[in-house]
């Protein structure tokens, strides 16, 4: 994975797009251009740190449509809108749907870079939390069926003795299972275990 962030530029105006790509690469970003919403959706999206600079008015589906489509596909690349004619309705719609900023052309370099900077910070946070989720899932997958059962009961607040009674094991065995599963998950306290279980639950719901 490259360290240089990749900025996707979706703008149907060729000279605007070329200029933006030039500016972004002069500013030290990797940049890739697309002439329409469809163009963007057809290209494979590389798994890279980055964001999208998106025009509103495009031939075919608009930038706002693209924002919606991406959200419904679970693509969470942050979006900075850049439009030739800003109106309040689309600005409100874009920001409500989670856009980082809504800029109008012509845009000053500092303004654009500042917005992209914020988008990248957001992307960083998003990726970090996703990586952490993946690690957590992997660890959970390594638990045995017995350990999962014990985990559920610990999280439900049962004491070792109650757990032992409920599954029909010796309390000593439950203690051993407990130590084992905490080591596997990398949790240092029952409280931390609770947080992890909650996180796993929300992840599986997503």
């Amino acid at each position: 994975m490259s360290d240089v962030p990749l900025v996707h530029v979706v703008d149907d105006d060729e000279s605007q797009r070329t200029a933006l790509l030039r500016l972004l690469s002069a500013g030290g970003f990797d940049a890739q251009g697309y002439a329409s919403t469809g163009d963007f959706l057809l290209q494979p999206l590389p798994e890279r740190h980055g964001c999208i600079v998106l025009d509103v008015r495009l031939p075919g589906p608009s930038g706002l449509d693209l924002q919606e489509a991406l959200a419904s596909r679970g693509v969470t690349l942050p979006i900075v809108f850049l439009t030739g004619h800003a109106n309040v309705t689309s600005a409100v719609r874009a920001m409500k749907a989670g856009a980082v900023d809504f800029l109008s052309k012509p845009v000053e370099r500092e303004t654009l870079f500042e917005a992209i900077g914020r988008a990248l910070v957001r992307d960083e946070a998003r990726r970090a939390s996703r990586d952490e989720a993946i690690r957590l899932r992997e660890r959970f997958a390594s638990l045995t069926a017995r350990e999962r059962e014990v985990l559920d009961l610990i999280v439900a607040g049962r004491l070792n003795k109650q757990i032992a009674d409920q599954i029909g094991l010796a309390e000593r065995t439950v203690k051993a299972e407990r130590a084992q599963l905490m080591a596997k998950l990398g949790a240092s306290s029952p409280a931390e275990l609770g947080v992890m279980a909650e996180r796993l639950r929300t992840l599986s719901e997503e």
Partner: protein
């Protein structure tokens, strides 16, 4: 201390810290003059000077100002000086020894913290502190929006703006923890407006206004506040009484007129010869809660949440309550007049339609209608121009970065310059097309090429069509078609027909959102056809299509097609419509080729 005999002129020089147009100055002036006028001093002459600090400043400016004042008032030295505002007091404290060391001074609209910063005041300087209760305003705003989590404070970039910002930062630290405070300090106005526009009702905005924004543009605080209140998605509270009515909800304001009046009373006493110790003691004018009733209603603030001592502005009794009889009389009069007009209209209808042809030829109405069309196209045209401007700016920015990074990248820079030039021409082409259309000019009679004229008109409407996802299908004649007449007016007809067609198909499914335009030579001349696949027009409305004031659109005036007909007929042509309900409409314009038909000077009214 000087005192004046009754009847003799008493001269008061007022030094305002800021510029002449600041609304607060006007209020102070009103109060001051009222108080001085009603005193027993005889004829009081008031001179005003505006130091325009902190816009200008520095030792040299202060010296120049001193020289100016000494020279200007050499023959009419003041008996008393009133200074209004912090910076004016600072000026007189520093310069008094060189100006009028013995003349008493009264200060007004100076806040307590500033007075403390220059304490002790020299002898002969009197006055009471003013209170700008920003914190009180913010507290009131939060009481009215108890669920607010976000307080946005907007300040500017001038020295005074920065002072306000420092003070607001210090004061906002004491707010309850549930409220997060966000400063928009020293940003360009555009950025401020954009941020405010994106706020929701969960926020409140406080701003004292500003004198200068982050891009160095100067403002009257009141005007800055007005533009902020116009776009803000959250209620806006201001810092000063004079901002009421610009769209702010209100605030706890110092009453500048009362402050001026108090200064005037104080000045009268000083002039009457009282020593500092014997001057009648007065209380500082307390800040008063003032609100704009319209904003209270707009933001849904409960009427009983407004404290009793608040002054509610703009709650006028309804018009009918106040002027019932006049209103009835006016309505009767209007009805009578309307009846009369209706009669006249019916009677003169035919004649007036004929007159329209002549009026259109005089190009006045045609011009007005072109302006209306341009208005309709504004959004798209702004987009068309911003596009190349955006590219130019990004290219220039990129070039700058490339130059900063050094190295031999001449070829890249050359390409950038080439692109900038091309985009510049593109922007100016849009403007040129628009100017040709909008220029008010005499009706022309010269030969022109119809295909070109149609293409150019189509280019003007294309962005609007694209915005509404309508495509144009253009079929020019395969050869040159020469028409004699007024190119702009014929273009106007084309634009009108195209816009109508776009309107007709805009609500249709994708495959019917196409408008075709064609130019064809016929035996009799040239046919220009604009065809849409919209809903069509019912047969009994078709004959009325070209009548003035007939329209099927919500926002239409019903003049477009009637003017189009006048223009076409003035060119010796004919215009007609065919429509199949459910299938679409076609408009045919037949023009004679090569020669102007009936004379444009024909007038058959």
């Amino acid at each position: 201390m000087q005192s004046s005999a009754p009847g003799a002129d008493v001269r008061v020089l007022v030094l305002y810290a800021n510029g002449r147009l600041l609304p607060a100055n006007v209020e102070v002036d009103r109060g001051l003059r009222a108080a001085l006028g009603s005193s027993a001093l005889g004829n009081v002459v008031v001179y005003d000077e505006f130091l325009d600090l902190p816009r200008f400043g520095g030792d040299e400016y202060v010296r120049t100002m001193e020289t100016y004042l000494l020279a200007k008032y050499a023959s009419q030295p003041p008996d008393l000086i009133v200074v209004a505002g912090d910076a004016a007091l600072r000026f007189i404290v520093d310069s008094r020894a060189r100006l009028y060391p013995k003349v008493p001074v009264v200060h007004a609209a100076v806040e307590a913290p500033f007075l403390q910063s220059i304490a002790p005041l020299p002898a002969g300087v009197h006055g009471l502190p003013a209170i700008h209760d920003f914190s009180g305003t913010i507290d009131q705003a939060l009481r009215w929006s108890p669920r607010t989590r976000r307080l946005v404070i907007v300040t500017g970039a001038s020295e005074l703006d920065r002072a306000w910002e420092r003070r607001l930062r210090a004061e906002s630290s004491r707010l309850p923890e549930r409220v997060s405070v966000e400063f928009l300090a020293g940003l360009p106005i555009a950025a401020v407006l954009e941020r405010l526009g994106s706020l929701g009702r969960d926020a409140v905005v406080f701003t004292p206004g500003f004198f200068e924004d982050g891009s160095g543009r100067e403002f009257l605080p009141r005007e800055a506040v007005r533009s902020m209140a116009a776009v803000s998605g959250a209620p806006v509270y201001g810092g000063f009484q004079t901002q009421l009515g610009t769209g702010i909800v209100g605030g706890r304001f110092a009453d500048f007129e009362a402050i001026g009046r108090q200064a005037g009373e104080l000045a009268s006493e000083v002039l009457a010869g009282r020593e500092a110790g014997t001057i009648h003691p007065r209380a500082t004018v307390p800040p008063k809660l003032s609100v704009d009733w319209r904003q209270i209603q707009r933001w849904g603030i409960e009427e009983n949440a407004i404290p009793r001592d608040a002054v509610v502005h703009f709650r006028a009794p309804s018009f009918l309550q106040e002027h019932r009889n006049e209103a009835i009389a006016a309505i009767v009069l209007v009805l009578l007049q309307a009846g009369l007009i209706a009669v006249l209209l019916t009677e003169r209808r035919r004649r007036r339609i004929a007159e329209f042809a002549r009026v259109a030829q005089r190009s006045e109405l045609a011009h007005a209608s072109r302006l209306a069309v341009a208005g309709e196209l504004t959004a798209s045209i702004a987009h068309e121009i911003n596009q190349p401007l955006g590219a130019i700016l990004s290219n220039a920015d990129a070039a700058e970065l490339i130059l900063e990074s050094g190295g031999d990248r001449c070829e890249e820079l050359r390409q950038i310059l080439g692109d900038i030039r091309r985009d510049d021409l593109r922007a100016s082409e849009v403007i040129r097309r628009l100017r040709t259309l909008l220029a008010r000019q005499e009706v022309e009679r010269r030969p022109f090429e119809l295909n070109d004229a149609v293409r150019e008109a189509e280019a003007l409407v294309r962005p609007e069509a694209r915005r509404r996802r309508v495509t144009f299908d253009v079929h020019p004649a395969p050869h040159e078609v020469s028409i004699v007449g007024d190119r702009v007016q014929i273009q106007q007809v084309v634009i009108n027909l195209l816009l109508n067609a776009v309107d007709a198909v805009a609500g249709m499914p994708d495959d019917r959102r196409v408008v075709s335009v064609s130019v064809e030579r016929t035996a009799a001349g040239v046919d220009l056809t604009v065809r849409d696949r919209g809903e069509g027009i019912v047969a009994d409305q078709l004959p009325k299509l070209f009548d003035s004031f007939f329209t099927t659109k919500e926002k239409g005036m019903g003049l477009g097609l009637s003017i189009a007909r006048s223009i076409v007929e003035a060119h010796g042509g004919r215009i007609r419509a065919e429509s199949v309900p459910g299938e679409g409409t076609a408009l045919y314009v037949a023009l004679p080729e090569g020669a102007m038909g009936a004379s444009v000077t024909r007038g058959d009214g």
